[in-house]
């Protein structure tokens, strides 16, 4: 009786290590890595605040740490509540209607049933270039936007694959994590500018003479100010790439059809043309709208398409 149950593709070979790993383990390790990186970035932010305090005025430590904390919290909160509306507006997306986009609506509702999540809201971007992105802080507020070109170019299985990939981002809380990381990075940059400005114009506030701790603090601060934003961006990109692989694997699991998603990726790779979107939302898309064939770069938001296809074909 139980033997009739078909095998699920939840175990596959990791190309990087050649090991066979299960999807669940991989999801867990991705989650751990993401949270560690987030903690690291918040620590970085706090460190800058503390060193700034040390360098300027040890008595005013609370002032700078406080600013750092307030910046991080407000930016994260803003990202948490408004990132979906901002992203949709930036991409020029309009709500999809059942009358006009029956096919897309049917495909999405079907995949949502399979994934066991509420059907996400749907938006359409009028552009011949095939692409898609997901936004929304949790599955209850999930939103998927696709271009009209994507609907035209892909058959049902391929569209299911792309929609399932985007739904995986929602289900895995990727959007929440990425917008929080972006907000933390923004706060670090803001704090850097704040400190640099007060260095230039305000000078030192303390008249109590520079102690040794203060001098060391100042040097460390300058180094950190230069390194921190770079380090934070690299970390954010690393998280982004990991999350793309994870969404591919989760999407393949939801549809039980890695081949559909792989074929969709091939079609998108071979399509000539670029989607004009602002830099701030590029990382959210199914494939990077501008750089399609870049190599395994530290600065890429997405893994190379070839590698994504290869991993799907190995499942």
């Amino acid at each position: 009786m139980d033997d009739q149950r078909p095998q699920l593709p939840n175990v596959f070979t990791d190309q990087a290590t050649g090991q066979r790993i299960s999807l669940l383990d991989w999801q867990a390790s991705n989650r751990r890595a993401s949270w560690l990186l987030s903690l690291f970035m918040i620590g970085l932010l706090g460190g800058i605040g503390y060193l700034a305090a040390l360098a300027f005025d040890p008595g005013g430590a609370i002032f700078f740490v406080g600013i750092a904390a307030v910046l991080a919290v407000t930016q994260s909160a803003a990202a948490y509540w408004f990132s979906d509306k901002m992203a949709l507006a930036a991409a020029g997306a309009r709500p999809a209607t059942v009358q006009e986009h029956r096919y897309l609506v049917n495909v999405t509702e079907a995949v949502a049933i399979g994934a066991g999540v509420p059907a996400p809201k749907l938006y359409v971007i009028d552009s011949p270039v095939p692409n898609a992105f997901a936004t929304g802080r949790d599955p209850e507020h999930g939103t998927i936007a696709v271009t009209s070109g994507l609907i035209k170019l892909l058959d049902r299985q391929e569209l299911e694959g792309v929609v399932a990939h985007e739904m995986a981002h929602i289900k895995n809380y990727d959007i929440r994590l990425m917008s929080m990381l972006a907000a933390t990075l923004g706060a670090i940059v803001l704090l850097r500018d704040l400190v640099l400005r007060s260095l230039r114009f305000g000078g030192r506030r303390s008249g109590r003479g520079g102690g040794r701790a203060q001098a060391i603090g100042m040097i460390l601060l300058v180094v950190l100010l230069i390194v921190a934003p770079l380090l934070a961006s690299l970390l954010r990109l690393a998280v982004s790439r990991r999350r793309e692989f994870l969404a591919d694997a989760t999407g393949a699991y939801i549809t039980r059809n890695p081949e559909g998603l792989a074929r969709a990726l091939e079609k998108l790779r071979d399509f000539k043309g670029k989607l004009e979107v602002s830099e701030g939302v590029r990382h959210m898309f199914f494939i990077n709208p501008v750089l399609k064939l870049n190599a395994n770069s530290l600065l890429a938001t997405h893994p190379p398409i070839e590698e994504r296809i290869n991993r799907l074909r190995r499942m």
Partner: protein, 185 residues
């Protein structure tokens, strides 16, 4: 010594309560998953008269096909148990497929806007049934695992819970909608 025994007994009792709730939750989940399939089957049954009406306007003499569709709809409406519903659903799937097969011979029908909407709706429903069935089987798998493995297996007997059967999934492409509902027992 007595205290330690008491603490262990209380911990065991709490764990048994947790296990009991988990088994009930998983059972509810797969029963709820069936209602997902049920909703789609009902929607499909409701669309059938509309489809027949539209097709008759162009291909009135294809009586055999219409009879089959009407029969399957009758059985669907009468079906009580999950087995009966599954069988009627299979019949309807086959009947609808023959409707869309004959439609290929009538270009004017194929160009009809109403027909095209119905065709997409019915294809969408077939697809949703396939996914709902997949989710149902996932839920049944979780339930069966919970009551067949230690420690759930110790509670399943007293609770009167037995492994549930899966819905058979045919080895076909999803693009060509094909639904087989025969329980695989």
């Amino acid at each position: 010594m007595g205290w330690i025994v008491l603490i262990i007994l209380v911990a065991l009792a709490l764990y048994a309560v947790y296990l009991y709730n988990r088994i009930v939750t998983l059972e509810n989940r797969y029963q709820n998953a069936w209602s997902q399939i049920d909703v789609q089957l009902k929607r499909r049954t409701d669309l059938v008269p509309n489809l027949v009406e539209t097709v008759k306007g162009y291909a009135a003499h294809e009586k055999e096909v219409f009879t089959r569709v009407a029969e399957s709809r009758e059985r669907m409406l009468r079906a009580g148990s999950i087995d009966e519903q599954a069988e009627a659903a299979n019949m309807m799937t086959a009947a609808l497929r023959s409707v869309f097969a004959i439609a290929e011979n009538y270009p004017e029908l194929k160009a009809n806007e109403n027909f095209r909407v119905l065709q997409e709706e019915l294809a969408g429903i077939e697809n949703k049934i396939a996914y709902a069935r997949q989710f149902y089987n996932d839920a049944v798998l979780q339930f069966n695992n919970a009551i067949k493995t230690v420690p759930g297996v110790f509670l399943a007997g007293p609770m009167g819970k037995r492994p549930h059967v899966y819905l058979e999934i045919p080895e076909t492409e999803r693009e060509v909608p094909q639904v087989s509902f025969r329980p695989a027992s």
